[in-house]
């Protein structure tokens, strides 16, 4: 819904006379105010809506409640008059009990506010279309191979070219491959993220530049030295200077002409993209070197469906083409097919389960809050019974009493909603600040019209829900049965008591569900932390260097051996090493190649693959990756010496059936040919992609034999030394100021980042579960307190007839336990039924984890007993004489 329509909707709540006279002018003033410059930023838009909400509420209340002089003609009863009267009565009764009202508004504000926050995130991230024209027609394409259990491999260049030529399912296909480059100018060297894109990249996404132009087809096919900047990069590096177009920029040793700047919203493939550069497969992989590869699967491929093609139809078309390719090129493509996923689904895939779980959790908290408030309302209805009875006796229509209850509920709920909206602007900022790293589409989140409508709807629904319960009981109350009990200590209305009990049971059940969820996440997180990564992450300092291409061959290995020697000479550094790809760090070359045992090449195309890592001699020592057998690399493993490799346990298991491979040879198939390597050692496996991932087959090669330019550098220190990062920067700068280094961080920080999402979900759900438990406890407490005040007489009688105080206490505690038991069982049932939906978030714990269920089965009754203890003690302290003497 757009803002103006929402405002028109809000106008309907004004009195008719006012609305009819001023609607057009109001909308005009609204629109013009919205266009004022101060409301144009994201926070400005928030402020605008907050101001509009305040303006609307205060004027609506004033217009409806302030009585104005009327002419005799206007004095006839209008359609809205009873409503105005009800609202006025409700306002009066809210004012009469300020403490109660504030408490109710507070509980609701928490419930509604948390829902508003999560809804605004869920709406922006999961529900709104991506910010591209006709985004629902965009799909991501993956290569799949069921036999190898590969379901999401980025397609290979040759396959993409064939698809483009042979299927009509797509209006356009784009390929993008993200690498990094070194930008050098007067201010120094910086490593930036470069997206290399195919000719159709911008046209498929239908993205227009904010400045200048995008690439022409000739430029892409001619491999022209041109770049388009991202908005972020343009602002960061050029201060948003519009004269940047046609300037040149020195990137990885070559000059590029800037032809355009993209709009702020455009950030494919990632939000971090700094610039886009043309990529043409034929130029990149010239025919004399074998042409574009088929079995090198690494591209990010997105297509726009052609008119008339649905996703299933396009997919079957694509699969047919893929099987044709597999027949024509069985060596590289046997068993490989393709699959299509909507781009939107792909973008939010990782965030989806967490967000939906949070949405469910805040929904539960809101339900509990509503149950709690309903329960409070019922208590108050009971307390007001004498007045109610008098009103009925004096001829007040029941419908009016009911309407008044409802009006009071709705008014309080709206106030709660408004307060919740205020809280949510703050909560949203908090959530985004703490959301680990990469919430997709975070820039698109805002409290807009849709979110306001949601909050309004939720508030109204809440108000009706808890206004209705007392409204019904106000109507249901019979004059005859009520009058005698008015003002006396007669037994409370059984039915109402039963309703309240049910509400408490519901609260307990919902709290149990949240506690089970939080318990499962806690156990799963504990398991995750207890998982050994395969190396010792303590006291490791990490950075990355991207050497520029003039350091080729031995220059590169010389550079790194000098750098490492200098690092090891720093005080506190015990050893240092470099590696192409470091666990948990997204930098450097991480690639897989087919491999086999020498003399035992399996038939067919589906060769197992091994991850290749180039390391310097002291890598294993520095990382403390244990060597099972054989030796580490040393300075003699140079280009002139024979080729050697160290493999991990997974390779030993897959290729050597568990026997020690030291001294045997493996063959690794590179693009240009297959080479044998003598295995000189076996290393323990490492959880390379995070604690949740299983170790993969890895082969380590000496960097001196296979020199790579970009390397991750790790240094082991005796203890944490805060001056070390600066020292490392100084050393690299001294060696060659033109080589940029990435951020200097620690291995422990990388490890903690890799579990950030789990920690975040755990903290939030844990907090919500605690709130839920607290609310449920309050519910039990208020129910029992009220109940016992009604039963003082009975307790006095029991004590007078010889019951001892302990047995009275037991009676009350038993009642609480019963409520807890019923609620707890219900809750466990619901938790088990819903458990499957969070199973994907759990690690090493089944959703029916007995320990968690048992823990919750202890914690929740314990909380119930705690809540019941005070009322029970009070009941047992009743002075029987005084209680019995009371009228």
């Amino acid at each position: 819904m757009n803002g103006t329509r929402l405002y028109r909707l809000l106008l309907r709540f004004y009195p008719r006379r006012f609305r009819e006279k001023y609607a057009g002018d109001l909308v005009e003033a609204f629109c013009r105010q919205r266009l004022e410059p101060r409301y144009q930023s994201r926070t400005g838009a928030l402020r605008f809506w907050r101001e509009i909400a305040c303006d609307w509420t205060s004027t609506a209340l004033r217009l409806w409640t302030v009585s104005r002089p009327r002419t005799p003609q206007q004095r006839k009863v209008g359609f809205m008059d009873p409503l105005v009267q009800d609202l006025r009565d409700a306002l009066r009764s809210i004012r009469r009990a300020p403490g109660f009202s504030v408490f109710v508004v507070f509980i609701l504000a928490m419930g509604i506010g948390s829902n508003t926050v999560i809804f605004s995130v869920v709406r922006a991230v999961l529900f709104r279309p991506l910010p591209y024209a006709n985004a629902e027609r965009l799909v991501r394409i993956w290569e799949t191979n069921e036999e190898l259990s590969r379901f999401a491999d980025g397609p290979s260049p040759a396959n993409v070219m064939d698809w483009e030529a042979k299927t009509r399912a797509f209006a356009g296909i784009l390929s993008v491959h993200t690498t990094s480059g070194t930008l050098v100018d007067d201010t120094g060297a910086e490593e930036i993220l470069v997206s290399r894109v195919s000719a159709d990249f911008f046209s498929v996404l239908d993205a227009r530049p904010a400045l200048g132009r995008t690439f022409s087809r000739e430029e892409v096919e001619g491999d022209a030295r041109v770049v388009v900047l991202s908005h972020r990069f343009w602002v960061r590096r050029f201060g948003g200077d519009p004269a940047v177009v046609e300037k040149t920029l020195r990137l990885s040793g070559k000059d590029f002409r800037i032809v355009g700047v993209m709009a702020r919203e455009f950030m494919y493939p990632t939000r971090e993209s700094d610039l886009w550069q043309p990529m043409d497969f034929r130029r990149n992989y010239p025919a004399e070197r074998g042409g574009p590869p088929r079995d090198f699967r690494f591209l990010n491929v997105v297509a726009r469906l052609a008119p008339g093609f649905s996703i299933p139809r396009a997919e079957s078309d694509l699969k047919a083409v893929a099987s044709g390719i597999a027949e024509a090129a069985p060596r590289t493509n046997k068993g490989w097919s393709a699959r299509i996923v909507p781009l939107h689904q792909e973008t939010v895939r990782d965030a989806r389960p967490t967000l939906l779980m949070l949405f469910g959790a805040v929904g539960f908290v809101l339900l509990i809050a509503c149950a709690n408030v309903s329960s409070l309302f019922l208590v108050r209805a009971l307390e007001r019974e004498p007045q109610t009875v008098v009103k009925l006796a004096l001829g007040c229509p029941r419908a009016r009493l009911a309407r008044q209850c409802l009006a009071e509920g709705v008014l309080l709920a709206l106030a709660g909603g408004l307060a919740g909206l205020g809280l949510s602007t703050f909560g949203l900022r908090l959530l985004l600040a703490f959301y680990p790293g990469s919430l997709p589409r975070a820039d698109e989140i805002s409290l807009d019209g849709g979110v306001l409508a949601f909050t309004l709807a939720v508030s109204l629904a809440c108000g009706i829900v808890f206004g209705l319960a007392p409204a019904f009981s106000a109507v249901e109350r019979r004059l005859a049965s009520a009058l005698p009990s008015a003002g006396s200590r007669g037994s409370p209305s059984q039915r109402r008591q039963a309703l309240r009990r049910r509400l408490v049971v519901a609260e307990v059940a919902l709290a149990v569900v949240l506690c089970v969820g939080a318990g499962l996440l806690l156990r799963s997180f504990g398991r995750l932390l207890a998982t050994a990564p395969g190396f010792d992450p303590r006291n490791l300092v990490v950075t990355s260097v991207r050497l520029d291409p003039r350091y080729s061959g031995d220059d590169s290995s010389n550079y790194y051996s000098t750098l490492l020697a200098k690092l090891e000479a720093l005080p506190g550094v015990s050893s240092a090493a470099a590696v192409t790809a470091l666990p948990l760090r997204e930098f450097g070359s991480d690639f897989d190649r087919p491999y086999w045992r020498e003399g035992a090449r399996p038939e067919g195309a589906d060769l197992p693959e091994v991850s290749i890592r180039m390391v310097t001699p002291r890598y294993f020592e520095t990382m403390r990756v244990p060597l099972r057998s054989g030796r580490a690399f040393n300075d003699w493993d140079r280009r002139s010496a024979s080729r050697v490799a160290i493999v991990n346990d997974v390779v030993v298991r897959d290729l050597f059936a568990g026997e020690d491979p030291t001294g045997k040879r493996i063959v690794i198939d590179y693009q240009g040919g297959a080479y044998p390597y003598e295995v000189v050692g076996v290393a323990a496996p490492v959880r390379f992609y995070g604690l949740r991932s299983e170790p993969v087959a890895e082969a380590y090669l000496p960097h001196a034999q296979v020199p790579y330019l970009p390397m991750n550098v790790v240094a082991r220190t005796d203890r944490y030394d805060p001056t070390l990062p600066a020292a490392i920067r100084r050393v690299t700068h001294e060696m060659d100021p033109a080589q940029p280094i990435r951020d200097v961080t620690t291995m422990e920080a990388l490890l903690s980042d890799s579990t950030a999402r789990e920690r975040f979900a755990l903290a939030l759900v844990g907090f919500l579960a605690a709130v839920a438990l607290g609310l449920a406890g309050t519910g039990v407490y208020s129910l029992l307190t009220y109940n016992l005040r009604q039963r003082r007489h009975e307790m006095g009688l029991r004590l007078a007839l010889g019951a001892d105080r302990a047995s009275v206490r037991r009676l009350i505690l038993g009642e609480s336990l019963r409520l807890m038991g019923v609620g707890g069982l219900l809750g466990l049932g619901v938790a088990l039924a819903l458990g499957r939906s969070i199973a994907s978030l759990l690690f090493g714990v089944p959703f029916w984890d007995p320990a968690t269920l048992a823990g919750v089965a202890v914690v929740v009754p314990a909380a119930g007993l705690l809540a019941a203890y005070l009322p029970a003690r009070r009941a047992a302290r009743v002075d029987p004489v005084a209680a019995l003497r009371e009228p």
Partner: protein, 117 residues
């Protein structure tokens, strides 16, 4: 509309009402222009949302302090449906008396402050 016998205000004007009257002292304006003028006069200290603006205008009109104009001012295209307001004689008197009252208060405040320093 009930006639009030006394044209002088019995109580001080609400700040928004006062500023709206003040904004109209310079000549007729339409709703949003009034709001802009008020914000300019008060350097943004008095900011009115659309609801507050037209609620105030309605009230002032009911109290016959302002009046909606029958004809559009010159230069305004015909198709634009805007309400233009101007001060009534009563409104101008009230504005003057309110300004005098505020002036007296300001004089008094200045004297007090000087005394204190």
């Amino acid at each position: 509309m009930l006639k009030r016998p006394d044209p002088e205000p019995v109580r001080p004007l609400r700040p928004t009402a006062f500023h709206v009257l003040l904004a109209l002292a310079g000549g007729e304006r339409h709703g949003y222009a009034i709001k802009q003028e008020v914000e300019r006069l008060t350097e943004g200290a008095v900011a009115m949302g659309p609801g507050t603006l037209y609620e105030t205008l309605q009230k002032l009109e009911e109290e016959e302090l302002i009046r909606e104009m029958r004809e559009k001012p010159e230069g305004e295209p015909d198709h634009v449906q805007r309400k233009y307001y101007r001060l009534t004689a009563r409104g101008r008197r009230l504005l003057e008396s309110e300004a005098r009252r505020l002036g007296r208060i300001a004089d008094y405040a200045r004297a007090k402050i000087e005394e204190a320093t």
